[in-house]
Structure formats: structure tokens, C-alpha cells
Symmetry: C2
Subunit: 278 residues, 2 copies
């Protein structure tokens, strides 16, 4: 079958097939690039405690709202990554005890504002992902993180209101369309008019951290109950870009990129892309 | 003093002053957004071991090359974040023992390929930053991370050749201009022609992880010797953007953004920016 353009091809009978190719190619890319999560690292040989050095650590169902409130408070004490981690971890420490009482939780403070203020990965995601990896089946944690990141990028957030918020302001929501701190915060500031150094922005990020933790705990509780199902898929626009740039494609020059919308950053493209932009 | 445009203003006599304002404003932004790193989180009350739950953990000078070789091997076992963390942490575990023999290092596997393949923060930086925060003075770790991230963004990398590389290919270098996995890898693939799923790309990322760890250990050894000095500053183009968008500016809608060049993503700007692009 011949098509006069890739656009026509994508719109035509081959679209469904291409979609599958793109998605499966991406999945392969993720797996090949993130290294086999089934390969467990052996605990150090000497002086070790298997209960603390091995993963996953034991998990028991915890209350998502309690974890979210803990995350909100922890955000004020140590920033977004610390909040994202401690919200989950602290509930488990209270419920399970050892080995959760051996961990230096304060080390997670480095991830604030996209790591020491670099605006990269949202710290609430970084912290929650660390906790997810710690307590999850090594074959499953990537899928749980995918669900969390995909939901974060596509959802009006924050969607959690703490019992005792740090401001009395109305905290509006935005859709980040990205897991990056810089994009997430700037969109919110642009919409609301609040400045980045305002108490409202800090309250927003605290509520966002709590929102992320609540959703992450929901996913972890499902994993514990045996009811977690991976549903995340890249969106059609991203899949279309990956037909040329993703794994197995002619160029294969994009490492991996999931829910983040390519056009968030690639706002102008070379003329070779004109056919795709009509 | 009056200027006909902000561009002229920046080029004029006020340039030096504005630069200082932008830089100090950014620094304030970083500090205000990342939460006070001097506020230490209290260890959990019950059943705790201060030697494992408190930070910083003890540090002793380690060999940067040995740490880099360890990071390169760990990359193959668990990906870039695992390599970035284990390269530093493993050397300390071997040298110091407790409390390093209590930590679940495998939890760091989540950061591969910008966290589960999302292409966000380069995992080698994520892992090294976690280790830096764990072993550093809480008042200093942000500065050490800034040095590492700034160096990563501006340096031809990888600059470490392991004793036993996984490929025999020539691994060329690129300047990422960003701490993000997606940008870093895509630039390298575009320059070299190697595909993202190629053994050469994996070798490149392994060497990059080793390069990051070697540099991070250099910084940590300087901190231990009392000779570390924070030298990182945002580049003039970023400082110029922040005169309008950074902390203390008229818009103040950019959370924080350090060495990452704004124009890496903002390749097209509204016409209101024309004066700045000439």
C-alpha cells in the first residue's frame, strides 16, 4: 500500500498498526534503556541485614489520605521530594517499624524544585518514585511509576486540600502536560498570577505533593491487593512523533519520552515536519 | 537613567548591576523554593539508630577513579541512577562499613533513563545528587550539586574511559547544555549517528555515569578537605531571561532554572521578545 505522505499514512488504514508499532517500540525502548528491573542487586556481602539492604521492603496497605496529610506537612519541613517520599515512607514506618526505622529520610531533601532548584523532575514525583521502587516488585515498579507520571501530566492538580492549609487563598488547578518542575510551576503561575516566591505557590506545591502521594498510595495498595493493572499508554501525538524518532524507527534518536508532550518544548520544527503540523 | 529598550539597558552601564540582581534573585529563588537545607529532620523517635537515620553520614576521602569504575559496572547492572549512586556509595561502604551496610541501594534503579524511561533528569545526576545530600553538610549540598549540574551541562562528555569498556567503538563527546536525559542523549545520537538502543549509546551512558561520579567525588573530597568553594553561576543568557521572569522580577513566573539554557526548549518566543533576540 502506498501513501503520498506520512500524515496520510497515519490517517489511513495503517494507523492502528502504526500506533501499536510506536507504542510497543517505546515500551521496548523503556525496557532496554532502563535496564532489566528483574535483575536484583545482591546485598553487600559483609555486615549486612537482608531486611534493610534487599528490596522490595515489606509493604502493607496504608491510608492514602493520611499519607497525603503527612506529605503536605513534610513538604513544609523539607521540600517536595522529601514530602513525596516521607508521605509514603513515614506511614509505613509507623505501621511496620523495622527496617523503615533505619533509613536516612532527610537525604531526600536534595530533590526540591527539580533538584536543588534546577527545575528538572518535579520533586514530588522523584520522591514518590523512590518510595515506589523501594516497596514494589522489581518487575512492576516501572509500570506503577508510569501510571503516576502519566496521571500527573494529564490531571488538573493539585486535587488534594489539606486539613490545615498554609494559606487561606483559593489554590486553582492546572494541567502540567509534563513531569518537569519548571513547566508545571510556570503554567500554574501564569494562570493564577501568583509569583513563584509567593506563599500561595508554596501552598500549591505542598498540595501537589500531597496529591501525588495520595495517588501513589492508591496504586501501591492495588499492587498489594493484587489488583494493579498497568494501563498507561503514550498519547497519539507522542506516538506519531515516535514513528520516526522512537525505538525501531528510521532515526531512533529519541531516547525515551512517554507522556510528556513533545510539543511542550518543540514549539517550532524544521520544515521537514510541515506535513505533520497541518 | 533611561534606556530605549531592555536590550540597550542590559548592554549599557547598568549591565553589571542587573547581572548581580538577576543572579542574587535566582539564588534567593533557589533557597526559598528548595526549603531551608539547614532544617534537619528529626530521626523517628522509636527504634531508631542515629547512625543510620541522621544525616550527613560519615564521609572519608575516596578514590575518584575507583568510584568511576564502580559506577560504570553498576550502570550495566542497574542503570544510570543506580550507577551514579552506587559508584560513590559503594566505595564508602567498602571503606567505612556501618551505616553504609544498611541501605537498600537497589531502590535507586527507578531513575534510569530519566526515571522509568521518562527522559527527565539524567539518572547519573539524580543518583550522584542523592549520594551528595546523604554525606554532605546540610548547608552545603545544594552548592555541591550546583557545581556538578553546571559542569555536566557545559562539558564535553563522557570524559572517562573505563578499563574494560563494553564496546570497542570510539565514543565521541557532546555538550548537553541541560541536565535532562532526553536532551543529553538525543544530542549525542544526532552527532554520532548511533541509535538510542545501540550498544554504543549504552556504553556512552555508562561512561557518562562514570564521568559524573568521578567529578562528584572530586567535589566531595574537596568538601572533606575543607577546600570546596562554590563557584557556579548562571550564564549571562539565562541571567538575562531571569531579569523579567526570575525571582524579584516583574513577572516572576519561572520557578527556578539554573545552568539549563532557556533557549534549549524556548526556540521560538512571542514577538514581545524580539528586542532580546536581535
Amino acid at each position: 500500500m502506498q501513501y503520498s505522505s506520512r500524515r496520510e499514512f497515519l490517517k489511513g488504514a495503517g494507523a492502528a498498526t502504526i500506533g501499536v508499532v510506536a507504542l510497543s517500540g517505546l515500551a521496548g525502548g523503556v525496557l532496554s534503556c532502563t535496564k532489566p528491573s528483574t535483575t536484583e542487586t545482591k546485598p553487600p556481602a559483609a555486615g549486612t541485614s537482608p531486611t534493610s539492604t534487599g528490596v522490595p521492603w515489606p509493604y502493607q496497605k496504608i491510608d492514602p489520605v493520611a499519607a497525603a496529610e503527612r506529605a503536605y506537612a513534610a513538604y513544609s519541613a523539607g521540600g517536595c521530594m522529601y514530602g513525596g517520599f516521607e508521605g509514603i515512607f513515614g506511614e509505613l514506618r509507623n505501621k511496620i517499624g523495622s527496617p523503615y526505622d533505619t533509613f536516612p529520610v532527610a537525604m531526600m531533601k536534595y530533590g526540591s524544585a527539580g533538584v536543588s532548584g534546577w527545575g528538572t523532575l518535579c520533586g514530588s514525583l522523584n520522591g514518590a518514585a523512590a518510595a515506589i521502587c523501594l516497596v514494589s516488585d522489581p518487575k512492576v515498579y516501572n509500570s506503577i511509576i508510569n501510571e503516576l507520571f502519566g496521571w500527573y501530566a494529564m490531571t488538573e492538580l493539585p486535587d488534594f486540600k489539606p486539613a490545615k492549609p498554609t494559606t487561606t487563598s483559593q489554590i486553582d488547578t492546572t494541567v502540567a502536560n509534563s513531569p518537569l518542575c519548571h513547566i508545571s510551576v510556570s503554567k500554574w503561575c501564569t494562570k493564577t498570577g501568583f509569583k513563584t516566591s509567593s506563599p500561595q505557590r508554596a501552598d500549591r506545591c505542598g498540595r501537589l505533593t500531597a496529591s501525588v502521594v495520595r495517588y501513589a498510595v492508591d496504586l501501591l495498595n492495588k499492587q498489594a491487593a493484587g489488583t494493579f493493572k498497568a494501563a498507561f499508554k503514550v498519547t497519539p501525538p507522542v506516538a506519531e512523533c515516535l514513528t520516526c524518532h522512537g525505538k525501531g524507527s528510521p532515526m531512533e534518536d529519541v531516547h525515551v519520552s512517554n507522556q510528556s508532550q513533545c510539543i511542550e518544548c518543540h514549539t517550532s520544527l524544521p520544515s521537514s515536519h510541515d506535513a505533520f503540523m497541518k
